[in-house]
């Protein structure tokens, strides 16, 4: 396990005040927030910054972390094993400062020091405060529902038409009969039914953290994202598909064959005198549901390259036939 220098990550001195830590965190959060950042490794850096802030903004966790540093001079990246009883005398309370952070966003270092151990010690209770709080040591155990987990899952739009099978790998920890922490990895085979939409949540009941004292397990929520695809995009249940057409198909109209995201090939009649920006609607060919979405075909005219004498002559004849046509006049 790699030692994490949280002060270095936030760019603050070890004597930094709570206010300085907060300011440093906010500055970095603005830079690396994955929703707005243009940095290539924004998500990883944000997770690192979040983690450092979670420890250093919490007086109890910070004191335990500082205490660890006093005993041995660990450096960032150095191989690290927590010394026995490193946390003796420290009591950790959740303050909800990790609100909205996915459990998977924490490093092994954090999980070992503050995350998994704390959850396992208190019986896998909620690690996100606000509605619940837990103590690393001390306090009578109470009945507590296991925490929910949130993650993202990337699917192809075609999966929304046909359904999909995905194998997920989940990491967690539990205490064995001797009270030792045991890291566990398990695999979950998930059948995703057809009809799934972008931004929709999939709930896997009981696949979150184990409940404590007879309370039920938490759930695992997967947020669906579609892989970017040059051929089509989805908006709610409607699907927009790019279809290339020749200049004569666009102007003269007529039937064309189109393969839909659902895999079927349909014959579509293109009306004559096609204008850029018009869409053709194929009713109920969008994402399937009780009320299916529609499929919109966005037609793009593609010019055939003139590579032979005969083809170049065809373009010359076209120029003669359309001598009055000025494509810039409409600009």
């Amino acid at each position: 396990m790699e030692f994490k220098d949280y002060y270095k990550i936030l760019g603050v001195d070890k004597s930094a005040s709570a206010d300085e830590i907060k300011k440093a965190y906010r500055k970095l959060a603005r830079k690396y927030h994955p929703d707005v950042s243009k940095e290539a490794d924004a998500a990883d850096r944000m997770a690192e910054v979040n983690e450092a802030n979670t420890v250093l903004s919490d007086p109890e966790k910070r004191a335990a972390y500082d205490n660890l540093g006093k005993e041995s001079a660990y450096r960032a990246g150095q191989d690290f094993r927590p010394p026995p009883n490193w946390d003796a005398g420290f009591e950790f309370t959740d303050h909800g400062d990790s609100a909205g952070m996915d459990s998977a966003a924490f490093s092994d270092f954090f999980e070992q020091m503050f995350g998994r151990a704390a959850r396992a010690q208190r019986g896998a209770g909620a690690d996100h405060g606000g509605t619940a709080s837990g103590h690393f040591r001390g306090g009578p155990p109470t009945q507590q529902r296991g925490e929910d987990h949130h993650a993202k899952i990337e699917l192809d739009l075609r999966d929304a038409y046909a359904g999909a099978e995905r194998m997920l790998t989940l990491r967690g920890a539990r205490l064995d009969d001797n009270g030792h922490l045991v890291n566990e990895e398990r695999q979950l085979q998930v059948t995703i039914p057809k009809g799934v939409r972008e931004g929709q949540l999939i709930r896997l009941s009981g696949q979150g953290s184990p409940g404590y004292g007879g309370a039920p397990n938490g759930d695992l929520f997967l947020e669906v994202q579609f892989k970017p695809d040059t051929r089509w995009r989805a908006q709610d249940r409607d699907v927009y598909q790019s279809v290339n057409v020749s200049p004569w198909e666009a102007e003269l109209g007529g039937p064309i064959q189109v393969t839909t995201p659902g895999g079927s090939t349909v014959e579509v009649n293109v009306p004559a005198h096609w204008k850029t920006g018009r869409k053709l609607r194929l009713k109920e060919r969008g994402i399937p549901a009780a009320t299916p979405g529609d499929l919109y075909l966005e037609l793009h005219v593609v010019l055939p390259p003139a590579t032979t004498d005969e083809q170049r002559a065809a373009y010359s004849n076209m120029a003669k036939a359309f001598a009055q046509f000025n494509p810039r006049s409409a600009q």
Binding site: V36, G100, R186, I202, S205, R233
Partner: protein, 114 residues
């Protein structure tokens, strides 16, 4: 809920698509837990119009979109001590940026194909 094992040794999980009908929307408690906030935090933001909820037959129900939005707002409020209105405004802009980026990627790809 039984969790049968597949022939690969992995546990097979039943996936439930939320939102498909009102019964599959999340409750107030579900949403609050997803944001690591108290139910009062959610109802306050619903009453301010910052989150959308459906109160049919006396109990609140929320869609996936609201869950994702509420988690983002909660994170902004707790990370930046942000005022709820400001967190909601920032969330609106983030959603718009995400959509615009998606459209840009799509359009750039379409242009490359021309």
């Amino acid at each position: 809920m039984p969790t049968p094992t597949s022939n690969t040794g992995a546990t097979r999980a039943w996936a439930e698509l939320l939102d498909d009908d009102v019964a599959r929307h999340l409750t107030l408690e579900d949403l609050a837990r997803a944001c690591a906030m108290a139910p009062g935090w959610v109802t306050e933001r619903v009453s301010q119009g910052l989150l959308q909820g459906d109160q049919t037959s006396g109990s609140w129900r929320f869609t996936s979109t609201t869950v994702i939005r509420a988690r983002r707002m909660a994170r902004l409020e707790s990370s930046f001590d942000a005022d709820p209105q400001l967190a909601a405004l920032t969330t609106d802009l983030m959603e718009e940026v995400t959509e615009l980026r998606r459209r840009m990627v799509q359009l750039e790809s379409a242009l490359k194909g021309l």
